[in-house]
Symmetry: C2
Subunit: 321 residues, 2 copies
């Protein structure tokens, strides 16, 4: 059985995984999920990226918006607002609330997030092994202007959901990452992987945060297997989300080639860019990263499965080289 | 301004209070609510009696069933069940969940239950000052057969909601009551009261639990004002609930006269029985408790207001005597 490890953020990673599962139905897929986006709301622990992967692969996702549950209602949130309790800008639905209630209750009972995630996945049967990157608390903060000539750090969700990434991001800080340990199973999955994939997730706040957990970069390098990625940037703009904004914060241009160079040939062996960025192939390969231009729009599951096949095929090519 | 203090359980007390508010619109009413029914569910603190009073007086109650919210939905509960997380026998609706989330979050932030209750009431404007009997944890347990020849103690909600009070109750234990202190405001309210009322709430698990908090009985006796009650028993049966079952557990017959005698003339000055129990008046008065027979069915708010007027009138009579 082929063992594939994927480092994933939310929507982009989750949709890619749906295609990968289709492309490699017999593979054992382990997902190392970003938890830097996690947030405590209403006294509950919310893990947006883990849940997006779980709901997407488990058939519970709101397909149109890419996050949250299908057929969702917002009664609890409306009632909380009637008590004057917010934030009102974070869209927690009633179905979604149940997930956070179960998670918070289990965490309160002493289970680590990895065990909680496993328990939640028993319902959703995502067809992959979903691991949080760490059981420790890591919180991605974004440094923005404070409106009074200074700067302040806000939670990533506040930057992204409340401020809609419409203000300049000066820095991205994975607070607590330097003290975090990989969750149980993470290093083992890397050590026994046949291929490691970076899906078209955000290179800074999703995959970058995962890579900020001590031991993760080394685990990937030491695995000695092909590491291939798919560009989340097409034609100098992110397909979705705010990758351009947070790339700027870390001084990386918003291009497919620059993202590959940001990961670097020490980490990345292969890189897929969209056909629109075919002229970037030369620059990436000049940096020692094998590169191909293929269609990278996840318009439907067939197109996504084709992308996954291209990634696995590129990994084979790397291995054979 | 007349100051009325009412010791209240859930449905019966809440409905009586609606009538009392109508009967004495200019009075300052303080409600000392039972918290022995409180239960932790899904990691959340649920206070059924306080909420029933708050929702009933605040216009949010499900009128037909007497507890829970009007126009309620049960999405969160269904989702919790899909995770295999129960108990399924306790009916927490989505609107109701919001109350418990706010409460739990405030308790977690360090506020005592009395402050939390005050905050929740700012939304509901119940027209009374609602105080929990204590900020400390008290949990009413009921001793039942364990099905293996022995006995066990179960939470009151399990006895009442899950077992539907269909098994014999051997004892009622207000666990923690002996270590509890009256909540801020409780003793002050008693000390400055003009009249103290026991509504037709359960004499054992509602009013009995409140009276089990050290200092409450003394506070009532020391107030030196009329203490009048309304019988929850009509024609040897409780109007609603399981008062007969828990009265049996404490060795008290299920009659209007026996409940008055259970409270005793040391505590109670006046007692209203239903016209169906007019023949009990003599026995109650023989015990030194002034007694009248009046209609005691809370069929609508007018009938309930009339009951409240009778109680206040009886208090005047006690005072004049």
């Amino acid at each position: 059985m082929q063992r594939i490890v994927v480092l994933s953020g939310g929507i982009g990673g989750a949709r890619f995984l749906r295609g990968l599962r289709r492309a490699a139905p017999d593979a054992g897929i382990t997902v190392i999920g970003n938890t830097g986006d996690d947030i405590h709301l209403f006294g509950l622990k919310v893990c947006p990226d883990l849940d997006t992967v779980m709901y997407t692969l488990g058939g519970g996702i709101h397909d149109g918006q890419g996050w949250g549950r299908a057929d969702e209602t917002f009664t609890v949130k409306e009632e909380l607002a009637a008590y004057g309790v917010g934030p009102e800008w974070f869209g927690l639905g009633d179905r979604d609330f149940a997930t956070h209630i179960v998670r918070t209750q289990m965490l309160g009972a002493g289970y680590p997030l990895s065990a909680v995630t496993e328990a939640l996945c028993r319902r959703w049967e995502p067809g992959v092994t979903l691991l949080p990157m760490t059981d420790d608390r890591v919180e991605t903060h974004v440094v923005v202007d404070d409106g009074e000539g200074g700067r302040k750090a806000v939670h990533f969700q506040e930057y992204w959901v409340r401020l809609r990434a419409a203000v300049p991001a000066h820095a991205v800080l994975p607070v607590g990452a330097d003290q975090a340990a990989p969750a149980p199973g993470v290093l083992d999955a890397l050590a026994t992987a046949d291929v490691i994939v970076f899906p078209p997730s955000n290179p800074v706040v999703s995959i970058g945060t995962i890579l900020a957990v001590p031991g993760l970069r080394e685990g990937i390098a030491d695995a000695g297997v092909p590491v291939v990625g798919l560009s989340p940037i097409i034609g100098d703009a992110p397909v979705r989300g705010m990758a351009d904004k947070v790339l700027a914060a870390v001084g990386v241009p918003s291009t497919a080639a620059a993202v590959a160079q940001h990961y670097g040939s020490g980490l990345l062996d292969g890189w897929l860019v969209d056909t629109a960025d075919a002229d970037a192939v030369g620059a990436v390969e000049a940096d020692g990263i094998r590169c191909r231009a293929v269609p990278l729009l996840m318009t439907d599951i067939d197109a996504t499965a084709a992308m996954a096949r291209e990634a696995l095929s590129l990994a084979e090519e790397v291995k054979a080289a």
